[in-house]
Structures are given as C-alpha cells and as structure tokens.
C-alpha cells in the first residue's frame, strides 16, 4: 500500500518533532522505575474441584435426580452449574435429552466447550441465532430465545427432552429480553421438567409459585444466601483513604455539603448582580 507508506512518513516527522519538543521541555531525561507488587509467599494451589458438596447443592441434586422441578437461588460463584452437570450426566445415561439455555451467546459458546470436554463431542450440540453445531445432539446448549422458538415451531424436536435448564433465570426481569424466558416457561411442552438457576432475588418463592401454577406442577425452591467467600465492601475517598460504610456516608455528606454551599455562594452573587441591575 503506497499511500499508507506516505502517511507513515508524515507521522514519523511529526513524532520526531514532538519528541524533540518534549526533550527540550524537560531539563534532563528521567527514567521512572516502575513499581513492583508485593508478592505473597507462594499461594496455595487451588484444589481442582471441591470434592464435598455444599448442603444446598446436595439438596438440589437429589431433587433433580428424583425428577422434580427445581428453582435454585444462590450467589454468584457458589457452584450452581454443578447441579446442572450432575443432572446432565443422569439424563444422558438414560438416553434422553437435556436443553441448557443461557442468556448470552458468549456464555452459550463457553458452556458448549465445557460440556464437550465433559461429555464428548458426539453428545453435545450448540444452537444460537447465528450458529448451529450438531443441533440434534442429546445435550444442546441454546440461547433462551432459540428454545422459546422451538416451543412454538418445532415442538416435535423436544419430544425426547427430559429437562430444560434455565441458567440465570432472573433474566426474566430484563426489560428487552425477559419475554423469551416467560414464553419459554409458559409453552415448554408439559413433559419437560425445569431446573432454574438464579442469582439471589427476594421473590424466588413467587417465581416458583408462578411456574407451579402455569405448568400445573410442584416446584421445589432451594435457596443459599451465604457466599462461598464472604464479601467485605469498602469505600475509597478522593484522598485515597479506606473507609467503612458509615465513614463513607459521612464523607459523602461532607463533600456534597461543600458543593451545596459553593452553589449557594454562586447563587447569592448572582442575586446581587440581579438586584443591582434592577435598581438601575
């Protein structure tokens, strides 16, 4: 590309002149040594898989292996997917099918790769709006929209499906896309059981009651409120102090009050001007 070459030449000239200016601007060139992190003494290596199941996991797994409709609500990172994996194992062993829906294409792709490693390429498929791989596989990962469409257009495809897993079922609340979850729950064929995985929300029981009503079935709610690792929330002030919640609230009040008083001052100045103008 001859043109691009020309541009480069111009760029280089400019760059050089800029650099010269920079150097002239400073008295001497200084090299800043970059900061290095404090390394903690050799971190423990993470055990690959927590062998012991948490209580809520055990409860939910037992229920789905029993063939019940289950809604699990637990914080992020507590291992909700493990429940779906155990269920998938069983469903595949019985020669039936499972649909795993996830809210984002990126998540679907990732889940597809994970499942492929776990269950082998033959067993796993992926269907999103813009790609289909092995769509007739017994274990198919889909976006929720695709599953919703199947509930209308291709009901016969779902004849052998034992379970549908709704990952992040609280997306029901999404103003633009929530409708897909709702329509899917309303119209999934009656023989398909539901496993819903949700973040902690206050009205899981209401969701379960609704699913139970529209599908005429019982829905077991399994809730876990505790995080795997507890969270500590702190605030950092504009002067880089670490603050607790109450300290932060005070700081915010103080800062906003300062603003308000400055605003007041401005206003009163303006008022004075205004009156002066009027009196003339």
């Amino acid at each position: 590309m001859p043109q691009a070459g020309k541009e480069n030449v111009v760029d280089m000239k400019e760059m050089k002149s800029k650099q010269r200016k920079k150097i002239r601007g400073r008295s001497s060139r200084t090299y800043v040594h970059k900061k290095r992190p404090v390394r903690k003494p050799a971190l423990k290596t993470l055990s690959p898989e927590p062998v012991k199941l948490d209580k809520f996991q055990a409860e939910a797994i037992e229920a789905v292996l029993d063939g019940r409709n289950v809604l699990v609500a637990a914080p992020t990172g507590t291992g909700k997917t493990l429940i779906a994996e155990r269920l998938a194992e069983k469903v595949l062993r019985e020669g039936r099918g499972l649909v795993y829906t996830s809210p984002l294409k990126a998540l679907s792709n990732q889940k597809y790769s994970d499942f492929k490693k776990m269950f082998g390429e033959q067993q796993v498929g992926l269907v999103t709006g813009d790609i289909t791989i092995n769509g007739d596989a017994p274990l198919t990962v889909m976006t929720t929209e695709i599953f919703r469409n199947k509930c209308f257009e291709d009901m016969e495809d779902l004849a052998n499906i034992a379970y549908v897993v709704f990952d992040e079922i609280h997306y029901l609340d999404d103003p633009h896309r929530g409708t897909a979850w709702e329509e899917a729950i309303l119209f999934a064929p009656p023989h398909v059981k539901i496993l819903g995985l949700s973040a902690t929300v206050p009205n899981v029981k209401e969701m379960a009651a609704w699913i139970g009503e529209v599908r005429a079935c019982e829905v077991l709610v399994v809730e876990e409120r505790k995080r795997a690792v507890p969270l500590e929330i702190m605030w950092i002030s504009p002067d880089n102090e670490l603050l607790s919640k109450s300290q932060a609230k005070r700081k915010v009040e103080k800062l906003s009050a300062r603003f308000d008083s400055e605003m007041e001052q401005h206003k009163s100045k303006d008022k004075k001007k205004f009156y002066n103008y009027r009196s003339k």
Partner: protein, 517 residues
C-alpha cells in the same frame, strides 16, 4: 487527555494487598485510558511470567496475525506484558479471548473491564474496584441495581485462596452524591416483562389453541404478580374500611350537630380560610361567612371528653387518605392486568390491516413473518416489496445490516455507494399505514460495512472506513447472519430467494467474524 480522572496507580497503592483485581469501569475508552495510565507506574510481572505472556501471545498470533495491529492495540500487548489488561465489547473476539485466557492463567494482575466481563467470565479475582456506580443502560445513565452490583462484586474472592473477597467503591470528588451504597437485603424483585411482539401474536395464532392463548394472556408472570398485588390491595382496603367503620361507632349522637367540638372546629377553620385575603373577595364568600357565624352562635359548644374524639377523627382522616390511594392503585392494577389482552388484540388488528392474517387464516406475508424474530414487519415488507430479490447481493447485504440498528452518538461509517431512497420510501409508506416506529427500526449507517465485507474487502479496510471498533464490526456482521438465518427459514418455499440469502450469509461468514471457541 480530554478528561481529568483519578490516577489508578494511587488506588492500586492502597489495595495492593488484594491483587489480582477486576477494575470495573463504565465506558470502553476509559478502560483503555486507565490501563495506559497504570502502565506508566506499575509492572506486575517478573521475567519468567513475561516470557509466558509473550509465548501465549505468540501462539495466538500464529492463528490471528492481525490481532494487535488494528486501532491502538499494540499498546495492549505492551500492557499485557506488564500484567495489566483491559477488556470490553469493542475488542475483536480473538483479542477478548486472549485477555480472558491470560486472566484465567493468573497473568493479569489488574484488569480494567466493563460489565460484560463479569457476565461472561466465570472466574474470580481477589478483589473488585468500582470506578463508578452509574452505567449507561441504552437510554440513560442510571445507578446500578443492587442485583447488578452483587453480580459483579461476587467475582471478588477466590475459593480456597482468599478468606474474604474485597470490594472497593471509589468516591468521586466531583460527584460525591453518586457514590453507591448497596445492600444484599435490598436486591430488587424480579418482575414479569412480557412483550407482545408481532411474532408473539403470529406464533400464538399459528400454533396455539384459543385456550392456550387465553392462558398466555392471563397467566403470564406479570399478570400473576398483578393478581397477587390486587389481592393484597383488596385485603388492605377492606381492613381500612373496617377501621373507619369501627372508629365511626365511637362518636356520640351529636357528632353531626354544631354543638360537637369537632364540627365547630371544622367550621371555624373554614371561616378563617374565607376571611383570608385570598378568599374574602370571591363571590359567595360573604354569604357563607354569615351562614357559618349564625350556625356557630345558634348552638352552644357541648362539654365532652373531646380528646379521644379528636384522635379518632384524625385516624379516620389518615386512613381514608390511604384508602383513596389504594383504590387508585387498584384501578391501575386492574388496567395493567388487562394490558396484555389489549396489546394482543391491537397487534392482531394491525396484522390484519396489513394483510398478514385474517382470524386464524394466514396469508403469505403472515407465513413469512412467522419465522422472523426482529423487526418482523419491516423485514417482511422489505421482502414482499421485491427489493431483496431485485437488488444485487452486496446491496442487500448492506441494507440488511441496518435492520434493528441504532447507531451510537459519535459513530462514523463510510456512506454506502448505493441508493437508500427506496428503503426510506418503504418505511414512510408503512408509517402512513399506521405501523408504529418501533417496528420500523432501520439505519443506513452500518450498510457499508456489510457491503464491503460481502465484496471481499479485508478487515483492515472496514476499520479504515469507519470509527467502529473490531468487536462492533464483528457484531454488525454476526447480527446480520442471525437475521439471514431467520429469513432463510421463512423463505423455505421460495427457492430463488432462499439461494440468494444463503449465498449472502456464506459470503459474510468468513475470517475474522467467524465464531471462536
């Protein structure tokens, strides 16, 4: 740099005990600015780790040689060698993947990222920083919901590594009142969000019985919730009514007469009002004043234990205020519970007027729209106007890229070399027929991208002829592929059209825009 911002290296100084950190920023440009700024002061990796990073990048580059060439991504490579990264939707899929891979290999100590990272990557860090707690939700800047906050914050704390996950929220000295205070107890309820789209109506009419349609309209989640709220409201209303009835029994027989202190007080209050400067000139005021004065003198004040009467009267007043509000709320709830039925019939009427269906009978347009899931009406009309079949493949590719696309504020793309007038005319006609604007969303902006890509231009060409980022370009094409697949299903009987659409899709689905695993 145009905007002043807080130096991230100061923050890292404070939290350096809790690395690696996910540094959440709401704005793509800002993730990059902050990363560059931090890179001037910090270097997190030792020699061996740098070698590892170089090796991983080298391997990835063997597959995608242009990964770091576009835009300013060469800077990112340098930053990655320092253990600093950024991640947002504008990155190319290959680049996103390598950043994710390095992060999961613990070779990134500070990752500046947007919300999408927390949603898509299921891998924890030691801590999380929130640069701000306000995000752009497509329409406006708003405070994060508690649920969103905890979804992101939950990435802090590695199981088996950290006893605690740390979350740091920055207080902005210019906007202190925007500082977020979140609580897990206040996480928002999930609400039903059903929407009645053209496809919903067509699908229901095609595949579901009357009974099932009724079920859909009356048993959806928000109707279910509304019904529950209605029950609660009704219960409260009857409770309040009972309270009022109970209290009314408390008064003596003279409650309504002028001798009752309560009545006298009320009359006196009215008198005072009428005598005020504002009211005394009004017609009828003077007569009413005389009337009240006569009434007050006609009977003497009764001596009684008025305190309890006053209390009761106040409670009645408060309760009936609450009651009015609840009754208003009840009306609203009833109206909202019926909303879906109204929406459904409105949409069906529109589709009947446009000649898609009549009752349960489907016409060609209706059968086509049945398989579309975005901008059903506009796309169907586009096909039935004959434009898709008449125009050459590259132009069709360009036009379809704009379906359901709303360009950002500062988006620039080379103007397409074809005429967009027919499309605008079609939209104007449909608008006249009463199709609401939300079903005619189309933009000429991304047209050139798909047009050029169809004609075999390389990725670099797209970047040079627009200011979109790699990830945006990929998403324009992938969205179009999604739409084309829907249209192919709809056009199954029309072999000419089907072949044409398939041809376009296969030409577009190549090289950098292919899906990665």
């Amino acid at each position: 740099m145009a905007r002043a911002f807080k130096d991230p290296s100061e923050i890292i100084d404070v939290i350096q005990e809790h690395l690696p950190v996910l540094y959440f920023v709401f704005g793509r440009a800002k993730t990059e600015e902050l990363a560059v700024e931090l890179g001037k002061q910090w270097d997190f990796l030792n020699y061996d780790e740098k070698q590892q990073v170089r090796q991983i990048i080298k391997e990835a580059e063997a597959e995608y040689p242009d990964m770091f060439i576009h835009r300013d991504r060469a800077v990112l490579r340098k930053l990655l060698e320092q253990g600093i990264g950024y991640h947002h939707a504008g990155l190319s899929p290959a680049l996103k993947r390598i950043v994710e891979h390095l992060y999961e290999s613990r070779l990134i100590w500070v990752l500046f990222c947007t919300e999408t990272f927390a949603a898509g990557v299921n891998f924890p860090a030691a801590s999380a920083v929130f640069d701000s707690c306000r995000k752009w939700d497509g329409r406006e800047f708003r405070q994060l919901l508690n649920r969103e906050f905890f979804q992101m914050a939950g990435r802090a704390g590695r199981r088996g590594f950290d006893e605690q996950g740390y979350v740091f929220i920055l207080i902005n000295s210019d906007f202190p009142e925007d500082t977020g205070f979140f609580s897990e107890k206040k996480v928002e309820m999930v609400q039903g969000r059903l929407t009645v789209s053209p496809n919903t109506v067509l699908s229901l009419l095609m595949w579901k019985s009357d009974h099932e349609i009724e079920h859909f309209l009356e048993s959806n989640f928000s109707a279910f919730q509304k019904r529950r709220r209605l029950q609660e409201t009704n219960q409260k209303i009857s409770e309040y009514k009972n309270t009022i009835d109970g209290l009314n029994k408390h008064f003596c027989a003279q409650r309504e007469s002028v001798s009752c202190p309560l009545t006298r007080k009320k009359l006196k209050r009215e008198l005072k009002k009428l005598k005020s400067r504002r009211y005394r000139q009004r017609p009828g005021s003077q007569t009413r004043i005389r009337e009240i004065e006569e009434l007050l003198t006609s009977l003497k004040k009764k001596k009684c234990k008025k305190v309890s009467c006053f209390d009761a009267a106040r409670t009645i007043r408060d309760t009936s205020n609450k009651l009015d509000f609840l009754q208003y709320k009840r009306k609203q709830l009833i109206a909202e519970a019926n909303r879906y039925t109204t929406d459904f019939y409105n949409m069906r009427d529109l589709l009947e007027r446009l000649g898609y269906v009549k009752g349960r009978e489907f016409f060609p347009r209706g059968r086509f729209a049945l398989y579309l899931h975005i901008q059903e009406i506009f796309v169907t009309e586009l096909v039935f106007s004959g434009l898709i079949e008449e125009l050459p493949g590259d132009v069709v590719a360009g036009i379809l890229a704009g379906v359901d696309y709303t360009p950002g504020r500062r988006e620039y793309v080379q103007a397409p070399p074809y005429d967009i007038e027919p499309i605008n005319k079609l939209r104007a006609e449909l608008m006249q027929l009463g199709v609401p604007g939300e079903h005619l969303v189309w933009s000429p902006v991304p047209g050139y991208i798909a047009y050029a890509w169809y004609n075999g231009e390389d990725f670099e060409h797209l970047l040079q002829n627009s200011n979109l980022q790699e990830g945006d370009l990929v998403s324009v094409i992938r969205r179009e592929i999604d739409l084309l697949r829907q249209m192919e299903k709809a056009a199954a009987e029309n072999h000419v059209l089907l072949a044409k659409l398939q041809g376009i899709r296969r030409t577009l689905d190549r090289d950098q825009v292919k899906v990665l695993f």
